[in-house]
């Protein structure tokens, strides 16, 4: 019996020792469990115009793309703002994050969880109800659909999708867009002000303009940009915001417009969509003047206009080298011509006399 007791104690000690010591040699290797599908299709954006005291009922269509697993989603509404000068939302995921002044959270209703069978889709009911006497303006929040994280391994993965919900409450609003910058823009800068180029050795493909939104509504400006080069050659960008991109409340947003737009029809998820890319505009080297004329204004409010001018130089290396070579040749020719004319005017002794004068 004593032997049995000591054997049991020894076994327990080994188990405890393994439990305590083993992790110090590395990461645990627990058996992981699959938690269901993490392949989904959602609506990325919703827009509503709702008068105070009225509501809108709508459906969110969610598709489970996994043919073998259920899609288990938890839904919640979070506020968001802008990340930078571009159009990427910054989500306030922390449940204790304070509510923003433009939050739709109190007015947006939707279920907390959704289960969708393999390979099928579901319409999820949602509604936005605006209280009576609510002030006019833009209100927005995001619906986050989260799959549950896997339990196991040491890198757990979880997928979430987001629908951005924008609501405009009509009425008299405060609209104020200020032009901060305009010029040739390198799109790789992703909205950063460093993307503006006054002198560029690379052919500019797009023109950028940065607007600061000081109003209490989101704005989607529309208008055109005119580009005028040396010798009067001009280029017209007749749609400076083809995607209808928004400047959020308080955001300084950089918009870019292709000097020459190439549109292509592509098929995504069984539907056809038109995508825009910048094509080679074929700019000649030299100096360009940029004129911006954009309009904005909510329904029933004054249409306002933002205008501005800027300039840039497109100077590729080959052009600079060629220019200086031609300049040098021209200077030589002029110098020889001047010498020839002066010789003709003042006689062959011109050189000698000019030397004497200097003395």
């Amino acid at each position: 019996m004593k032997r049995l007791k000591s054997f049991a104690l020894a076994a327990l000690a080994v188990v405890v020792a393994v439990g305590v010591i083993a992790p110090s040699f590395g990461i645990s290797n627990a058996n992981a469990q699959s938690t269901g599908s993490a392949a989904l299709s959602i609506v990325p954006k919703k827009n509503y115009v709702i008068e105070p005291g009225k509501s809108v009922s709508d459906t969110l269509i969610i598709r489970n793309l996994d043919a073998s697993q259920d899609l288990n989603l938890s839904l919640r509404v979070v506020d968001f703002t802008f990340t930078d000068n571009g159009g990427t939302p910054k989500l306030f995921l922390d449940p204790s994050a304070p509510q923003t002044t433009w939050s739709l959270k109190p007015y947006l209703k939707l279920p907390k969880t959704v289960k969708i069978g393999p390979g099928s889709s579901k319409k999820v009911d949602m509604s936005v109800a605006i209280p009576a006497n609510h002030g006019a303006g833009s209100y927005y929040s995001a619906i986050v659909y989260s799959t549950s994280a896997a339990d196991g391994g040491n890198v757990g993965l979880s997928a979430s999708g987001v629908t951005l919900v924008f609501t405009t409450i009509p009425g008299k609003v405060n609209e104020d867009l200020k032009l901060k910058k305009l010029g040739a823009y390198d799109t790789e800068a992703k909205g950063d002000l460093s993307g503006y180029k006054y002198i560029s050795d690379k052919q500019p493909m797009s023109i950028g303009y940065t607007l600061q939104n000081n109003g209490n509504v989101t704005e989607a400006p529309a208008g055109s940009i005119k580009l005028k080069g040396w010798f009067g050659k001009s280029y017209n960008i007749d749609n400076v915001n083809p995607s209808g991109s928004l400047a959020l409340i308080g955001q300084t947003r950089t918009y870019t417009a292709c000097i020459k737009l190439a549109t292509t029809d592509v098929s995504v998820g069984g539907s056809t969509a038109t995508t825009n890319t910048c094509a080679n505009p074929g700019l000649w080297p030299g100096h360009y003047k940029v004129s911006l004329d954009v309009f904005y204004g909510q329904n029933g409010n004054n249409t306002q206009e933002v205008t501005g001018t800027a300039a840039f130089w497109y100077l590729p290396l080959w052009f600079v080298v060629t220019f200086f070579v031609i300049l040098l040749i021209l200077a030589l020719v002029i110098w020889r011509l001047v010498v020839k004319v002066r010789k003709a005017m003042y006689g062959p002794k011109y050189r000698k006399s000019s030397v004497n004068r200097r003395r």
Binding site: P23, F25, G26, I27, S28, N29, A32, T35, A38, A39, L40, S41, I42, V43, P44, K45, N47, Y48, V49, D58, L65, A67, T83, G87, T88, P89, V144, S146, T147, N154, V155, G156, L157, S158, A159, S160, G161, V162, A222, G223, S224, N236, D238, S243, G244, S245, L246, V268, G269, G270, T272, T275, T277, D293, F295, N299, G300, T303, A344, M345
Partner: protein
Amino acid sequence: MHHHLIRLHTSFFANWRHLWSPELVALFLALFVFVLPAGASTRLEERSLLMQNNEPGATTSYRVSFKYMTPTPINSVDMLFCMSPIPYEACVPPPGLNVSGAVLSDQQGESGYSISTKTTNHIVLSRASNSLPTTALSSYNFENIKNPTASAQAFSVRLRTHTSSDATGTQVDFGSVRAQVNQGIVIQTQVPPMLVFCLAQQVDYGCTKTNDTFYTDMGELNSESTLTAKSQMAVGTNASGGFAITAVGIPFSAGTNVIDSPLVPTESKPGTNQFGINLVENTAPNVGNNPEGEYANAIASSDYNQQNKYKYVSGDVVAYSPNVSLMKKFTVSYILNSSPTLHAGVYSTTLTYIASGRF
């Protein structure tokens, strides 16, 4: 010959003041002051358009308001409905809009007008008046106008005032108002924007299949070697604003011990505490793949697309597309290094990849 040249030189440079007296030059410059503004028009102020119902294709009433600026008798107002607000650009009528059945139901401020011309996108108001226009706001209400059907883009009304009663001859004032129809509820026959996203250890290019494994085990930590792992995600959208994928989650930790991540892209350094990710193929260590998919719109963010350099900051956008994007598959590479002094423990993390639309 040289006598002729001297005479020419003398007449141009010595006696130029006789040819171009300062008085003559001043008179020439003064001409510009009077000549240039003669053709200029003034902008109509406080311009606005109120659509009673801004559902696409709805038949509703429009109220156009503005202030006349130039104190000249006005006998006609030209209202041209175009996509672009810019007066000198070719007018593209808003698709679906029809103002040919418009009825002028009310007029405030400057009144006495009737509709003299109306086509699908053009209205001319005419009257006979010799009095100067009021400086107060003038409004014109039109019933029975059919809204445009394209909700993705704003449209405009180009306004011009004339002294003639048929909107011919020189314009007096001008200006544009803009508006946009808004798709409140998705029409079921129309393909709505969608965002397709999937995530797992291995995913199919089109999100049609994943291996349903949402964890990865990196093995045991060792100060002399780098642990690696990878996961995959695929994404695509037909939304014109594109998408963004944000990575969220705390770095590797065991209790209060955290393996820090570099804040800027950094090489893998065995023997130091380091956790990082990137979205490209690497050789040091040998892990990962470049993004797969023919379409160039969707790319890894600049900090996460550098070979052999790793970074991880929770909340960073790791991949994005500024526009419509076909399906693209990204492979996320994970590296984990540890120093010999790292506290023993079970180190793990859960990373959530959030796919959202852009605004």
